[in-house]
Symmetry: C3
Subunit: 273 residues, 3 copies
Amino acid sequence: MLKTMMANVKKTRPLVHNITNYVTVNDCANILLACGGSPIMADDAEEVEEITAVCGGLNINIGTLNRRTIEAMLLAGKKANELGHPVVLDPVGAGASRLRTETALSLVKNVKFAVIRGNMSEIKTLAYGSGTTKGVDADVADSVSEENLDDAVVFAKGVAKKLKTVIAITGAIDIVTDGEKAYCIRNGHPMMSAVTGTGCQLSALTAAYVTANPDTPLEAAAAAVTVMGLAGEIAYNRLGEADGNSSYRNYIIDAVFRMSPEQLAEGAKVEVR
Amino acid sequence: MLKTMMANVKKTRPLVHNITNYVTVNDCANILLACGGSPIMADDAEEVEEITAVCGGLNINIGTLNRRTIEAMLLAGKKANELGHPVVLDPVGAGASRLRTETALSLVKNVKFAVIRGNMSEIKTLAYGSGTTKGVDADVADSVSEENLDDAVVFAKGVAKKLKTVIAITGAIDIVTDGEKAYCIRNGHPMMSAVTGTGCQLSALTAAYVTANPDTPLEAAAAAVTVMGLAGEIAYNRLGEADGNSSYRNYIIDAVFRMSPEQLAEGAKVEVR
Amino acid sequence: MLKTMMANVKKTRPLVHNITNYVTVNDCANILLACGGSPIMADDAEEVEEITAVCGGLNINIGTLNRRTIEAMLLAGKKANELGHPVVLDPVGAGASRLRTETALSLVKNVKFAVIRGNMSEIKTLAYGSGTTKGVDADVADSVSEENLDDAVVFAKGVAKKLKTVIAITGAIDIVTDGEKAYCIRNGHPMMSAVTGTGCQLSALTAAYVTANPDTPLEAAAAAVTVMGLAGEIAYNRLGEADGNSSYRNYIIDAVFRMSPEQLAEGAKVEVR
């Protein structure tokens, strides 16, 4: 399954439109190229509908949002829906400010997402909505561990069902679910959190994967999450004694560039729950 | 010729004002430093005329344009013209949206450019203008190869004459022409297209080269294109088996940093047509 | 002293809100992670007060300012003051345009800064204010050397007293002073000026250091300046013969990531005047 997902990306070279933050945008572009896709960045309301129309998929990341780009996100998202292009949401910092929370909720309300990827705290914000908790049990710990994995899976499935999308909650253990089936992925390395934007990069990667595999968004998202985690492991093993988080950043993208479907299948630590 | 162009950059350390996209801006700044120049980034209408006045040249790149920065591009371009500073245009994505096409055409109409650098598709958009094809034969393939090189050179010369500027069309074979003389450059490596912004970086580099060589924009642009291509080759040869596009990005800029005029002259694959 | 400053950063992992330019923002985020801190970037007036409230400190950098972000800088700065969070200012390019000079002066007037870090020319612009020179002797050379160090220290102390803040003037020799005591720091390497944004990175680092050491901003800033300089030395020694400024950029951040309090104490070249 994972092998096919990756092979389809490498074969179809999906063109992904990104409306994303200016902090990690360069790494997002390079990881899209690394995986075999191709990036376009454009964030102005005057052009995003045309740009998204020439692409195969759309990645919306609210990392450094403002009114101008929020308008563009909504326009591009609706256009992508109209055209049947898969759309990924990365609700960066949802919960940290009213603007972020409201924008994330407004996007979820107005745009149909193929995948929403965030950390537990961001996904909980989406689940709770504007203060109400009904429909989803969001009383779950902020960091997923072996001890609370069952609860986290139940929570993730609930959010996926409520929002009718694939939910990818990433952390020490990643959970990817469509509400019925959940992939628990144990790839990755703690040092990835010392590199800015590994989450943003994963969302961009996920957009490439769902664009190349439009009929299997759950498996596509699970494959992207596994690729990123495995790249983190491969890159970690490559670190020399003088290397720190900046070289690690490069090595992670390099590992995505070099990874073969066979390597992915062999290195994957994926369990279905 | 190439040696002199590079020597002048290293000697005069040109200060280049960049109004450019937020995707590849950091690499543009670092490649300007690598070649011996110095970058300033400023994109607001309230200050761009003052900033461009303290610089020697201007690089305009429409990669992530919006109304605010378009206004700044026009103001800075006109000011640079007034002061006799060379200006480079990178019409990123012209043709992909009306906003990009119209902005590129408006810039070409209102600002005198020393060099316009883009891929064939972007340059064709400039040549066709708003749908009319008169004056320039734009019926040429989108990718330049040995087979269609003659036609591409004729096309490039036509655009250069029509727009009264040096045109640099980059791809598998690069063409740099002022309408009379065309340099065909066979440096570079296909893997460069797996690094985001090598085109943007080249435009920034070109701005440094024409700023340091204001009387010979054709030769300056040809030298910059050759430097970038040769850096791509040197960097490729440096790749280890775990290296991918992220390390390649660093190695390309490193190669520009390390390149001597002698190395450039020796490695150049430049033909005049 | 330096060891304690660093140990406090590693222990408390300060969360720093950055309103900074889009050129070097990724490196600022990665150096904050490298030193043991954590970055948040947010630049819109609608959310900066909330974002800064959840952080421990604030870093304001005017590198690519515009009206929208200037408003955010003022709002965030005032909010941080209200909450007692330390605020760092990097007045990038103050003096190069009226917008930059006026913005820097307006920030200094409306926000209480724990530390202002810039090069000599930027700090002189702040000292002169809008053309008046009274109160501070700004008749000092733009680059600090052994020959003019005494004058530079007198000048820096004067500015610190006038602006009631810690002033860090970085260059060949760095001066960090609160108006009474001045640390003269001789770490660093000339090649650091071939990497874009080492100054911006240092300001971000300084914000982490003053956030983790709120009662000793002078010592915290001196420690941050020393860390950056020492990282530049360690990274320089690591350069291979093919490495240029792009690899150097990575190695500097790597060195910050790897540096221990003991290594800092051992490598520091700090003199008190």
